[in-house]
Amino acid sequence: MEITKNTIEHIANLSRLDLTEEEKSMLLFDMKQIIAYMDKLKELDTSKVKPTAHVMQINNVFREDKSEPSYPKEKLLANAPLSEGGCFKVPKVVE
């Protein structure tokens, strides 16, 4: 299906991005070009090919269920834009 301005707006919303009109038209142009190139993959018959998400076959990497010391809370919260009482602070989410 053709990529339109609507597609860009839909994808931007899923991505939690607000785009300016200028950005939308530029990204629409780029995306059309890039996706057209991606369509090259359709030349290949992959009906019987298993997908590879990870090249190294490592499965189920577990560790012992043992608690270990973590980083100090103050140090972690120091990077938060806003914190209070040892918690991250966000705008009200329930009415």
Partner: protein
């Protein structure tokens, strides 16, 4: 000769025999940075006094004879997407402009254990998305061979800093060529190791199934020395490989007799600059004279690899960048109406254009209705690419080719053409898709005086083979010597 022009192994000789101290070496680099980095622009932050303090401590241990590492007292600079405790780590993004990691990446821990001296953090494309370092939020990095040209990317600061003697060596990351292509553009040695041999713990993620940390150095011997330090199993990275790691310096043998080399004909065809091609063919000639058997073969999925790579890396990138929400760390917009608006405004103001482009692309190929058509398809093609490499490595020890289709280009030349920029990664992305190690070494210059890089790829855990070939090539040609910048840099500014 200035101290900062030496390789790690040369500096180590001086340190061991007490001819110079770690402090003198560190100061030599800091002086050089002060003098020329306002022109080159490779560093995002420089640890002046802290680095000297650390060098003093290290020297005390050296004086007591407590240190027995190649890296003790050797200055290193780190790409700014690798976490350094207490030292700003920005990913060259407005999003992480003020991010100070509460912990060290495993590679940093390892380097510090060997008494290396961190002297600063290096410029890069924002979140490692790019091939020219022009996507940095903060500044441009110039190619030391011609300051009107890009250093390559995304580890552009790392390659430029090593080339211009602004650090003894650098640690970068490579998702689709981000160590190898800038190494090629700047005339230094760069290696992307096998996926899983260097811990990614503390590497700020771009595409988790492709990212790998690796060294940028002045020669192949230094590359082996740094690999010895940074490789190894790490329980903090679930993709880290647990096996007996070799001593990579043992691979530094001048002998390629009987080595089987395959050259993908698709790497030498359309789109390859003729001067780059000539230099690569010259390199093949050298290896043949040294007793290697070289022949062409077909790597038919070369162009498909680019498409698969940009689908997979953008998909993983969009997922990894979802964590930047303006809450836990990173940039938060000043004005917003509610939580959703906080997310949107913070992300829209915090990310640069290329990051947004990749987020959109990644979200698109993962979105309902397109997942099978693009994402799953790309993962299937990834299997085919891996199979094609497996077949090649039944016949060959290494696959040889250029690292990039051209030498360093001018600023802005590809900036308005994202697809064109992506296509420049054609020779490097397949090694990431298949998890293979790749080494780039200098193999000459074009008529503009710009360095050309030779790329060697091997099967998983083939680092030692690559080092052996790279070392032999370096010993039997003068390309490395010519690619080492000596003396003062005069930029006439």
């Amino acid at each position: 000769m200035e101290l900062c022009e030496l390789t790690i192994h040369e500096m180590n000789e001086f340190i061991k025999h007490k001819k110079v101290s770690a402090v003198e070496i560190t100061k030599s680099f800091l002086r050089r940075i002060e003098k020329i980095d306002f022109t080159i622009g490779s560093y995002l932050s420089v640890l002046g006094e802290d680095a000297v303090k650390r060098a003093v401590e290290v020297q005390k241990r050296i004086d007591k004879g407590e240190v027995n590492s190649y890296l003790s007292g050797i200055p290193v600079a780190i790409k700014d997407n690798i976490c350094t405790e207490g030292i700003k780590t920005t990913c060259a993004s407005k999003m992480l402009q003020n991010f100070v990691p509460p912990y060290n990446a495993t590679v940093i821990k390892k380097l510090l254990e060997e008494d290396a001296v961190i002297i600063g953090k290096l410029n890069m494309d924002e979140f490692a998305m790019g091939s020219s370092t022009e996507n940095s939020y903060f500044k441009l990095t110039k190619n030391p061979w011609d300051i009107d040209r890009v250093p390559g990317g995304s580890s552009g600061g790392a390659a430029a800093a090593v080339a211009a003697n602004l650090t003894a060596f650098a640690i970068g990351s490579d998702t689709g060529g981000s160590i190898r292509q800038p190494a090629s553009f700047c005339g230094v040695v760069g290696m992307k190791p096998t996926y899983g041999v260097v811990s990614r713990f503390g590497l700020i993620a771009f595409a988790s199934s492709l990212d790998q940390i690796g060294p940028l150095t002045k020669d192949v011997t230094d590359c082996a020395i740094v690999l010895n330090s940074i490789t190894g199993y790490d329980p903090m990275d679930s993709t880290s490989l647990n096996f007996k790691y070799p001593d990579y310096t043992k691979a530094l043998v001048n002998d390629v007799k009987g080595l089987k080399v395959g050259i993908p004909k698709e790497y030498m065809g359309n789109g390859l600059d003729s001067e780059v091609k000539t230099a690569v063919l010259e390199a093949v000639k050298v290896l043949k004279q040294l007793g290697a058997q070289c022949e062409e073969f077909s790597f038919s999925l070369t162009e498909h690899a680019i498409a698969a790579y940009y689908i997979i890396s953008s998909a993983e990138g969009s997922s990894n960048l979802a964590r930047y929400d303006g809450v836990k760390y990173g940039y938060r917009a000043e004005k917003f109406s509610d939580l959703l608006d906080l997310y949107k405004k913070s992300r829209s103001e915090g990310f640069g254009t290329e990051a947004k482009r990749r987020i959109l692309l990644g979200t698109y190929v993962l979105s309902s209705g397109y997942y099978d058509e693009y994402y799953k398809k790309a993962l299937q093609v990834r299997t085919l690419i891996k199979n094609e490499f497996d077949e090649a490595f039944e016949k060959y020890d290494v696959v040889l080719g250029p690292a990039a289709p051209t030498t360093a280009y001018k600023f802005g030349e590809n900036a308005d053409n994202p697809l064109g920029m992506y296509l420049g990664d054609i020779y490097t992305v397949s090694a990431n898709l298949a998890g293979l190690p790749g080494l780039v070494v200098p193999c000459g210059f074009d008529s503009k005086g710009l360095p050309i890089g030779l790329q060697l790829v091997s099967k998983p855990f083939g680092e030692s083979t690559l080092l052996k070939v790279g070392f032999s090539f370096e010993q039997n040609t003068d390309h490395n010597k010519k690619a080492r910048i000596r003396g003062e840099l005069e930029y006439g500014i």
